[in-house]
Amino acid sequence: MAKRIDLRHVTLRYVTDTREVLAVDDVSFTVAESEFLCLLGPSGCGKTTIMNMIAGFLSPTHGDVLIGGARLDGTKHDRGVVFQDFAQLFPWRTARRNVEFGLEMRNVPKAQRKDTALEFLRLVGLADFADVYPHQLSGGMQQRVAIARAIAYSPGVLLMDEPFAALDAMTRDEMQRLVNDVWQETKKTVVYVTHNVAEAVYLGDRVVVLDAHPGRVKAEIPLDLPRPRDPLSATFVEAQRTILGHLGMQH
């Protein structure tokens, strides 16, 4: 079910009016089946660009992106995506009908669609809000619906682009715990983009640290702390220090 992701010498250039920009330069890494990989870096490191290439929204200028060993294939591409923007939910659909969308695209019968959607809303703790429209939900709840929606149709990989960056700190902590639980329950292959070191250490099996201008892989740090992780433990703090060192932000 969960699929492996390979990036091989992925490079992306684009041309503006005045010059050619090298946004991503020869990035290679692999995400194993059911692995939780965090892409971490400062703004301008191309982490969202890399995620957009994995999602199939952008094509690399050079190199290959493989999901489950196969090259990307338009609409049949097997991934779920969660964006940072709360507005990603369809306002004209209730929470449940939002979660059903991917199943609808796969022609799943109506009754089964409903059951599956409710099951995933339960997974993110929103069973009681199935018939509520997105505008009636808080930002954190909307992101939970977005997560349920992105995994309800069983994609092989789940891609998340700073999903909690616009939330307040307390809600963010709660959401990180939720993502950890959901991942342990579903065992998806996850690529999680963030600029928050603590978040990467809390969630990742491995952190790929990126450098900016152009975006390059600077370091890969495996994290084998037991889950759920304790952000106040010495090993957690140590891991954060290591990563900050790679980012060149250690004092």
């Binding site: 199939g56 609409t75 991934r79 995506v81 369809f90 695209m105």
Partner: protein, 256 residues
């Protein structure tokens, strides 16, 4: 302010207008035959309603309005959606739509009479032509205003271009589409009454006003004008307001 006092205030405006009218009547600004009292107008309205004239006229006008507006609505929404979504269709049609849009529909009336004769057909077509450009322009803008992240999300979930069109673009553009239809209906309503005066149809609210002129039946004219206002307001409040409440207001895409 409470809702009730708001409604009351709205009624006060009508009372003030009625009093001003009545004062002008008593003051004798115009001869009474040209400027009837409100009582005479109300009396005439009652009489025309009971003998069926008003009903037959309103039905004839609404029939033309409905067909003309439906034609414009269907054509306008389809063309607007295609223009918003398909680049070459936009390139091909936008200049001509921009050229046609500001032309008052009534300008075509004499031509349409020559082409299609008298009766319902030219009136319906004229309403359709005059209305469709408003619907096209607004629908097209609505497609352009669809949040790109909805399309991305749909793509990510494996939606085909057809599914995106039906399940994302259409509901996503609905606030603008409804605005276009609402403005379109208002302009259809206005042009139709004018057309009925020019085209010598045999029934209709516009005809009732125009036909009353030569007999100086100002009370009939005013009663009909009142009916036009009432029907227009009912269409606005009972059709469009309800439609909006049930969709874009409910979805939080427009505040109530």
């Amino acid at each position: 302010m409470s809702r009730l006092s708001g409604i009351l205030l709205g009624c006060v405006a009508f009372v003030v207008l009625a009093l001003a009218w009545q004062a002008a009547y008593w003051a004798g600004v115009f001869p009474p035959r040209l400027f009837p009292s409100l009582a005479t107008v109300a009396d005439t309205l009652g009489r025309l309603t009971i003998n069926g004239t008003m009903l037959v006229s309103a039905a004839a006008t609404l029939f033309r309005l409905l067909f003309g507006f439906l034609l414009a609505g269907v054509v306008g929404v389809v063309v607007g959606l295609l223009m918003g979504r398909v680049q070459w269709i936009e390139d091909a049609l936008l200049p001509i739509v921009s050229f046609m849009y500001p032309i008052p529909g009534i300008a075509y009336a004499p031509l349409f009479v020559l082409w299609f004769g008298l009766g319902d057909l030219p009136a319906i077509l004229l309403v359709a032509v005059a209305t469709s450009f408003t619907v096209i322009i607004n629908t097209w803008k609505g497609v352009k205003a669809v949040n790109p992240i909805w399309i991305r999300s749909a793509h990510a979930m494996g939606a085909s271009e057809r599914s995106i069109f039906a399940k994302v673009i259409l509901p996503g553009a609905l606030p603008y589409v409804l605005t276009g239809l609402r403005l379109g209906l208002a302009s259809a309503w206005r042009i139709l009454v004018a057309v009925e005066m020019l085209m010598s149809v045999t029934q209709g609210l516009g005809w009732l006003i125009f036909g009353s002129q030569q007999f100086l039946n100002t009370d009939v004219m005013l009663a009909t004008i009142a009916v036009i206002g009432i029907v227009g307001m009912l269409l606005e409040r009972q059709v469009f307001l309800r439609l909006e409440q049930a969709t874009i207001v409910r979805w939080g895409m427009m505040s109530a």
